[in-house]
């Protein structure tokens, strides 16, 4: 049962990456699955080692047989349509296995949490399964499990839409659609179920506050996003107590409308028949799209500082460092994708090779970025044993300076391009991933030929492009550090990297 899940594991991925580069997410949990039992691991995007790095123990013998040709593939185009009521549907046939999967994105999700009620979007989504006009919570659970199906809804913090996912065997497609449409369109939010839900959320909050990766994320979002809804990482004790049935009803009525929604389906069906089925179950749904939110295109930079999240008895410091970055539609997306690939996109990237393979400080260090409808963030992270906290921060700074000041060598550039482009072949066996890629196109309003042109855009980022991206985003004067660890062990060493403020696990300032 206690599997050692993998030579590498991007442990922060599940928590820290909401809607980033989609292609690799489908492979999440592979290492854990290989152990057949434990869930939870996740993989990142991969690439890029540095030949010229002094002392780097990674050298190339170049003796392995590599096919120099990149296998270029095209993502199969889905059927896309807008129903009369404004619901956008994206249908992707896949006939390998007798299954079906529905994915619904309902704008605006957590960003619409009213002030004073953090978690309302998340509560609304979580309560969908707890009763409808014609089914009790227990009936829904029993129907879903009897089909061996899945049905879940969530509104993750920092993500601009609520997700509803339902999947099962193709022979049960009609029953699954019926269940899904019932919980999305007709939830009854029973008072008694809300009381139970609150108790379970209270317990979840306690468990999250014990988890260093969550504490890091919570601290990072607060620092990066300041006084905005994006700064939230979870509901609070106060909001859990406060949220009422009326709040849920209001949120549902206002935001759960077809004009705000994209429904994607992949599986062993004919698109024409699926469209008719969707019209049957969702055709009567009404409500126009809400006006898009306005976000400032640029954000005032903050001087470098350190937030120490005091977690007594920790034997590691969980380090996150990063800054604000871009929106999903910004042209800088490609440059950031390639730069991230070189810096920290996997075990072959600079951070992993430096912090783990060369300096023995961590089990793994990676970087990632989150691009949304608002200017998102990029970050790098590593959990390190407490006594080497400062050494690890020095290595981060070394790698950040290097990618700022030294052009990435041509071979490493070539690697980064090839890694991203060639990995599309693997996504072809993951229909859920392909569907997710097309939902991304629809949701963010990208061109229909976006994925056809993506490889050329990636290939078009050259050394100068990576350096310009690094200079802009990996900005040494504006790094925001979050260190989750035992205050009495690390506070002293942190001071040499900038002003330190100390908070407890709930985010409250400590003296």
């Amino acid at each position: 049962m206690r599997n050692c899940s993998g030579i590498w594991r991007n442990a922060g991925a599940a928590i820290l990456a909401p809607a980033t580069l989609a292609t690799w997410a489908a492979l999440a949990a592979l290492a854990a699955l290989a152990g057949m039992l434990l869930p939870g691991a996740a993989l990142a995007q991969g690439q890029g080692q540095d030949k010229s790095a002094p002392l780097s123990q990674v050298q190339r013998l170049g003796r392995a047989p590599v096919n120099k040709e990149v296998l270029r593939v095209q993502l199969p185009r889905p059927t896309v349509a807008k129903l009369k009521n404004g619901l956008t549907i994206v249908l992707e046939e896949d006939h390998k296995l007798p299954t079906i999967a529905f994915t619904m994105w309902i704008h605006p999700g957590q960003l619409a949490d009213p002030g004073g009620l953090p978690g309302l979007a998340s509560f609304t989504a979580g309560m969908l399964r707890e009763g409808t006009e014609k089914r009790t919570s227990e009936q829904i659970a029993s129907e879903v499990d009897s089909l061996g199906a899945s049905l879940d809804a969530s509104s993750r913090f920092g993500v601009s839409y609520t997700s509803v996912n339902a999947s099962g065997l193709i022979t049960d497609a009609a029953k699954i659609l019926d269940l899904m449409s019932d919980v999305v369109l007709h939830p009854s939010f029973p008072e008694s179920e809300l009381a139970k839900y609150k108790q379970s959320e209270e317990a979840s909050l306690e468990q999250r506050l014990a988890n260093p990766a969550f504490l890091g994320q919570q601290g990072f979002r607060r620092v990066i996003y300041g006084d905005t809804p994006m700064a939230l990482a979870s509901a609070t004790k106060e909001s859990i107590a406060k949220i009422s049935v009326e709040d849920l009803q209001r949120f549902h009525e206002k935001h759960y409308v077809p004009g705000n929604t994209i429904l994607g389906v992949t599986g062993d069906f004919k698109a024409s028949e699926m469209r008719a089925a969707i019209e049957k179950y969702f055709g009567a749904w009404t409500g126009a799209a809400e006006a898009p939110e306005k976000f400032a295109a640029t954000v005032a930079p903050q001087a470098t500082k350190i937030t120490l999240v005091d977690r007594p008895a920790s034997v590691q410091t969980y380090i996150i460092v990063g800054d604000r970055a871009i929106r999903r539609t910004d042209p800088e997306y490609y440059g950031l994708a390639v730069m991230n690939q070189v810096l920290g996109g996997g075990p072959q990237a600079r951070l992993f090779l430096d912090l783990r393979e060369e300096h023995s400080l961590t089990y793994g260090s990676y970087s990632r970025f989150n691009a949304e409808i608002y200017p998102g963030d990029w970050l790098a992270f590593a959990p390190v044993r407490t006594p080497v906290t400062s050494d690890a921060m020095d290595r981060f700074l070394y790698e950040f300076k290097k990618i700022n000041s030294e052009p990435v060598p041509p071979e490493e550039m070539d690697d980064a391009h090839r890694a991203i482009i060639a990995s599309f072949a693997l996504s072809l066996e993951q229909p859920a991933q392909i569907l997710n890629d097309w939902l991304t196109v629809q949701y963010y309003g990208l061109p229909v030929d976006y994925w056809d042109k993506y490889p050329d855009h990636i290939g078009g980022i050259d050394t100068a492009g990576v350096q310009a991206t690094a200079k802009k985003f990996v900005d040494l004067d504006h790094l925001q550090w979050i260190c989750v660890g035992d205050r009495k062990e690390i506070e002293g060493v942190l001071k040499k990297y900038g002003p330190v403020s100390v908070v407890d696990v709930t985010g409250k300032a400590e003296n």
């Binding site: 290989a34 039992l37 296995l97 499990d145 061996g148 317990a203 306690e206 023995s360």
Partner: protein, 467 residues
């Protein structure tokens, strides 16, 4: 086409439904029915070849995507470790990524990821497995990488020290710096007497410190021989061509004497075993229980799997409905039966809600267990468990790589690659009587281990109270 014993009738009858979607859409909403009716799991045709050096090779052509998965599963895990060297099988796994005669340290990562691939390796009690998935035009690359390290691993003190650190950080990250980390390890050490499964796969810090370069060299010679491994390839290739390449890359590696056998026999226990931990990183208490069940791939283990679904899988399960929803004692209950080569465990793990006493939660769990032992499960519950298992298995078959990993596991664990085709039958064949008999025979208090974790603050509070 499809051969599945009892499943056959259903599979053929359901063919029309599986292909034509329209007819299903009129089904009455809310009607509960076993999902297995009418679904056909495509059978895999495979080649099963043994090379002269003893390497067993399984080949499955699957042209649904332009990729292939490769898995090399070695018949060695932490069960093969000796006292004083716990954690070594896993530390060794790390060394397999540190370079071989024709691959430099770290070059493995570079070659796989920069050619669009994905890779990893994992170790558990019973086996160590290494895998890559790559675009189909890189078939030689995956084979070369696996063959080179099986043939000529390069080991140095510097590399060992580096990976010892990586593994110790892995242990801190997943165990020592997490709430309930110690409970995870202690429940197995309490549940087993036989050293093979009693100690943890991650190992102790002091044993990891003791590992030497000579240990690595010995382990490599004894366990990392072609005759102690299974190579599985699944994906978009021509099996004849692929087999020729396998012979070219792996055929030259010499066989070694068979490794020593490990005694996995676990004598029955008499009397419940119990331990209390005060955990400074936990904010809520936790109870972890383990009950002995028979080895994997036995009728009783299959029955135990279904029992765990009835008890704890999905929101309609007994524990969720009674303990989380109805009585509101638990925030979460996790149930899982593992499938080992030897004596396995049925684990139950639960956290009380804030303000609920752990003893009250334990009592409620015991009542549920007593109820299932006394009255058994219902036919509806069993049908539901089977639907869930079938669905889960079908999803696992989606990826070429994961299919390869599964076949490698089945072959090393149970000497049966064809389990990839028959496991659905075996799960389907489990009867209500078998599940009920397993509940009675194995959910026995005398045979269980219990680890209770309290937040450390509770200990301070109770010692203050005693003064």
């Amino acid at each position: 086409m499809n051969v599945m014993g009892k499943m056959r009738a259903a599979a053929i009858a359901g063919l029309g439904l599986a292909l034509g979607f329209g007819g299903v859409l009129s089904a009455a909403p809310g009607q509960e029915q076993a999902a297995s009716a009418g679904v056909k799991v495509p059978k895999l045709e495979f080649r099963d070849v043994k090379l002269d050096n003893g390497l067993r090779v399984i080949l499955v052509a699957d042209h649904s995507a332009p990729v292939y998965g490769i898995d090399v599963c070695y018949n060695v895990g932490s069960r093969n470790e000796r006292p004083g060297r716990t954690g070594f099988a896993h530390l060794f796994e790390h060394m397999m990524f540190e370079g071989s005669e024709n691959v430099a340290k770290g070059e493995h990562y570079v070659l796989v990821f920069n050619n669009g691939g994905n890779m990893n390796g994992t170790t558990n009690e019973d086996r160590t497995t290494y895998f890559e998935e790559l675009p189909k035009n890189q078939l030689d690359l995956g084979l070369f990488l696996e063959a080179d390290r099986m043939r000529a691993l390069t080991v140095t003190q510097e590399k060992l020290d580096n990976q010892r650190n990586a593994v110790q950080e892995e242990r801190r990250q997943s165990i020592d710096n997490q709430p309930y980390g110690r409970a995870q390890l202690d429940v197995d050490s309490l549940a087993y007497d036989n050293f093979a499964y009693k100690h943890s796969t991650i190992g102790s810090m002091s044993d990891l410190n003791a590992a030497s370069v000579d240990d690595v060299k010995d382990f490599f010679r004894i366990y990392y021989a072609p005759n102690n491994a299974v190579l599985t390839l699944v994906g978009d290739f021509d099996p004849d061509e692929a087999l020729a390449k396998v012979k070219k890359y792996f055929g030259v590696i010499p066989a070694q004497p068979a490794p020593p056998k490990v005694d996995l026999n676990e004598e029955p226990h008499y009397g419940e075993r119990r331990e209390v931990i005060y955990d400074p990183l936990a904010r809520l208490p936790e109870i972890d229980m383990a009950y002995h069940i028979p080895a994997g791939n036995t009728p009783e283990n299959y029955a135990a799997q279904q029992l765990t679904y009835v008890l704890g899988q999905g929101e309609s399960s007994r524990f969720y409905q009674r303990l989380v929803k109805e009585k509101q004692l638990a925030s979460e209950v996790r149930v899982q039966a593992d499938t080992r080569i030897g004596t396995s465990q049925l684990y139950i793990s639960a956290n009380p809600r804030p303000g609920v006493k752990l003893e009250d939660l334990e009592k409620a769990i015991d009542e549920e267990i007593a109820a299932v032992v006394k009255s058994g499960v219902t036919p509806e519950e069993l049908a539901k468990a089977k639907s869930q298992l079938l669905r889960q298995f079908i999803e696992r078959r989606r990826s070429a790589l994961f299919t390869a990993i599964l076949i490698g596991n089945y072959t090393v664990y149970f000497n049966d690659p064809n389990l990839i085709n028959t496991i659905v039958d075996k799960e389907h064949a489990v009867t209500l009587e078998e599940v009920n008999a397993v509940a009675k025979k194995y959910l026995v208090t005398d045979q269980r281990a219990v680890v209770i974790t309290y937040p450390a603050a509770y200990e301070k509070a109770s010692s203050k109270g005693a003064q």
